[in-house]
C-alpha cells in the first residue's frame, strides 16, 4: 500500500504540473473561452426561443418573473426595515432575557 500511496502522490504532482502548465498557456485560454463563448451563444439562443414560446403560450417570460421577484425583494426589504423598527421599539420596553457576559476579560498572564 505504501507503494500505491507514493504512486498516487507522484501522479498527482505530475498531473498538476502538466495541467497547470497547459492551463497557463494562451492557447488553452483561447480554446477554453472559445468553448465558453459557444456555450453562451447556445444559451442565449435557447433563452430567446423560450421567451417566444412562453409569449405564444401567454405565459410570463424569465425577465417578467425576475421583474416580479425584484418587486417582491423591495417589499421584503421594506418589511425588514419595519420589523427592525418594531423590534427596536420592543427592546426598549422589555428587559433582556439572558444576562450578557461581562466585557472585562484580560489576557492570561504570560508563562515565565
Amino acid at each position: 500500500m505504501a507503494f500505491f500511496r507514493e504512486m498516487v502522490n507522484q501522479w498527482e504532482k505530475m498531473a498538476n504540473d502538466v495541467g497547470t502548465k497547459m492551463a497557463g498557456s494562451s492557447e488553452f485560454s483561447q480554446v477554453m473561452q472559445g468553448t465558453t463563448a459557444v456555450g453562451l451563444k447556445a444559451q442565449q439562443a435557447a433563452h430567446d426561443a423560450m421567451a417566444k414560446a412562453l409569449s405564444a403560450a401567454n405565459m410570463p417570460s424569465k425577465a417578467e418573473v425576475e421583474a416580479l421577484a425584484e418587486r417582491l425583494f423591495h417589499i421584503e426589504a421594506q418589511l425588514g426595515r419595519i420589523e427592525s423598527l418594531l423590534s427596536a421599539q420592543g427592546s426598549t420596553q422589555t428587559a433582556p432575557q439572558t444576562p450578557k457576559p461581562k466585557r472585562t476579560k484580560t489576557p492570561p498572564p504570560k508563562a515565565k
Binding site: 500500500m1 500505491f4 500511496r5 498516487v8 502522490n9 501522479w11 498527482e12 504532482k13 505530475m14 498531473a15 498538476n16 502538466v18 495541467g19 497547470t20 492551463a23 497557463g24 498557456s25 494562451s26 488553452f28 485560454s29 483561447q30 477554453m32 473561452q33 472559445g34 465558453t36 463563448a37 453562451l40 444559451q43 442565449q44 433563452h47 425576475e66 421583474a67 421577484a69 425584484e70 425583494f73 426589504a77 425588514g80 450578557k100 457576559p101 461581562k102 466585557r103 472585562t104 476579560k105 484580560t106 489576557p107 492570561p108
Partner: protein
C-alpha cells in the same frame, strides 16, 4: 533499522486485510449516510439584507474581551468553514477563548441582485454590519477578520473609512496583486474572456464556472483525493475531515453579475489595488490610510492565492503595528482542520488578546 523495527509481513497483511474489509463496510456507509451537519454553533441572525447575512454567536463564557470580532467571509463560499463541527470550529475556539463573535456571511445573490457591485459590498453591506455589531455589543470599536476575498472587501472598507471604528484588522490569504495569480489570469485572459457577454447571458456568474476555475488550479487534485479517500475509508477521522472540506469546497456561491464584472476588470485585468488606481464608486482607495494594528496570515502552499499575490499587502498597509505570518498548509487547511487548530487559531488568539481590551 533494527530487526525489531521491521514490520512483520504477517501483521502487515492482517492490517491491510482488516482495512480492506473496513473500506467495504464503511464505503457503503459513506454513500448511504447524509452529509455532515456543519455550522451549528448557536447563533442569531441580526441583519439580513438581500444576499447579506450577519450572525451573532452566543457567548460560551461569562467574561469576554471588550472588543467584538467581525468575521468577513469570502463571497465565493459559505461561512461555515469557520464553524465546521464542535472541536473543529474557529468560531467555537474564539467563543471559548472569550471573544464576542459576529460573522458576515452570504447567501446566493438572487437573479434580481445581479446589479450589486463592489460599492454595495464595501460602502453599504459592510458599513451596515459594522453599525449593527457596534449597536449589539454596545462598544465603540471592533476587530475585523477577513478571509480571502472577504479580506479584500475588509481592506477596501478599512481604507475608505480611516477614521472608522476598526480597532484591529486581520486578513487570511488575501490577494492584492492579482497578476500573481497566473492561472486565474489565464482563465480570465482579457483577449479571450468576454465577461460582459457572460454577465448579460447569465445575470449572475454561475457557481459551476467558479468551481471549474478553482478545479483547474489542481487538475489532478480531485482524482487523487478520491483515491486517498478510498485508501483511508477505514479511518473515520480522515473520512469525516474529507467530507467536511469536500462539502464546503463544492458548495460555491454564484457571484452578483456586476460585482463579478468589476472584480474581473478592475482587479484581474487592471490589477488596480496593487497599481494604486483602485476606486470604489469614485472614491480612491489608498491602503496606506489603514493605520489600525494589522495581521496578515498566509499559507505556504496556497495554490488559490499564491504568496506572490498576497505578499505586497503588508507593505501597502499604513499601520506601524503590522505583521505577516506564513504558516504551513494550503488555502483551506490554513483556516480549518488539524493544521488550523494547531497553528493558526492559537496565533490569532495571542495576537488579539492584548489588542482587544
Amino acid at each position: 533499522m533494527s530487526a525489531s523495527d521491521t514490520p512483520n509481513p504477517l501483521d502487515q497483511a492482517r492490517v491491510e486485510f482488516e482495512r480492506a474489509m473496513q473500506r467495504n463496510i464503511k464505503g457503503l456507509d459513506y454513500f448511504t449516510s447524509p452529509a455532515p451537519t456543519l455550522g451549528i454553533s448557536p447563533k442569531d441572525l441580526i441583519l439580513s439584507k438581500g444576499t447579506l447575512r450577519l450572525y451573532h454567536y452566543r457567548a460560551l463564557v461569562d467574561e469576554i474581551y471588550r472588543v467584538p470580532i467581525m468575521l468577513v467571509m469570502a463571497t465565493t463560499n459559505r461561512g461555515y468553514i469557520f464553524d465546521m463541527v464542535p472541536g473543529q470550529s474557529f468560531v467555537e475556539f474564539l467563543l471559548k477563548a472569550g471573544y464576542d463573535v459576529y460573522m458576515v456571511d452570504w447567501e446566493p445573490p438572487r437573479a434580481e441582485e445581479k446589479h450589486l457591485g463592489l460599492e454595495d459590498y464595501v460602502l453599504d453591506f459592510l458599513p451596515a454590519c459594522v453599525d449593527k455589531v457596534l449597536e449589539t455589543s454596545g462598544e465603540p470599536d471592533l476587530s475585523v477578520i477577513g478571509y480571502c476575498f472577504g479580506g479584500v472587501l475588509s481592506v477596501l472598507w478599512a481604507a475608505l473609512h480611516p477614521d472608522g471604528p476598526m480597532k484591529n484588522l486581520v486578513t487570511f490569504t488575501t490577494p492584492v496583486n492579482f497578476k500573481g495569480m497566473p492561472l486565474f489570469q489565464a482563465w480570465s485572459d482579457q483577449r479571450f474572456f468576454d465577461v460582459d457577454k457572460l454577465v448579460a447571458t447569465f445575470g449572475n456568474c454561475p457557481p459551476e464556472m467558479l468551481y471549474s476555475a478553482f478545479d483547474m488550479l489542481r487538475p489532478g487534485g480531485r482524482f487523487a483525493g478520491n483515491l486517498r479517500l478510498w485508501d483511508n475509508m477505514w479511518n473515520d477521522e480522515f473520512v469525516k475531515a474529507y467530507r467536511m472540506i469536500d462539502r464546503w469546497s463544492s458548495d460555491m456561491l454564484p457571484l452578483a453579475g456586476r460585482y463579478f464584472e468589476q472584480t474581473t476588470k478592475r482587479l484581474m485585468w487592471e490589477n488596480a489595488i496593487y497599481e494604486g488606481t483602485m476606486d470604489v464608486a469614485g472614491r480612491p482607495v489608498d491602503l496606506g490610510k489603514i493605520t489600525a494594528p494589522f495581521l496578515h496570515v498566509v499559507a505556504e502552499h496556497d495554490h488559490i492565492v499564491p504568496y506572490e499575490a498576497s505578499k505586497p499587502l503588508v507593505p501597502m498597509v499604513g499601520s506601524t503595528d503590522k505583521q505577516e505570518v506564513i504558516l504551513k498548509g494550503g488555502h483551506v487547511s490554513l483556516v480549518a482542520g488539524a493544521n488550523a487548530i494547531r497553528r493558526l487559531w492559537p496565533q490569532i488568539d495571542q495576537w488579539l488578546q492584548e489588542r482587544s481590551l
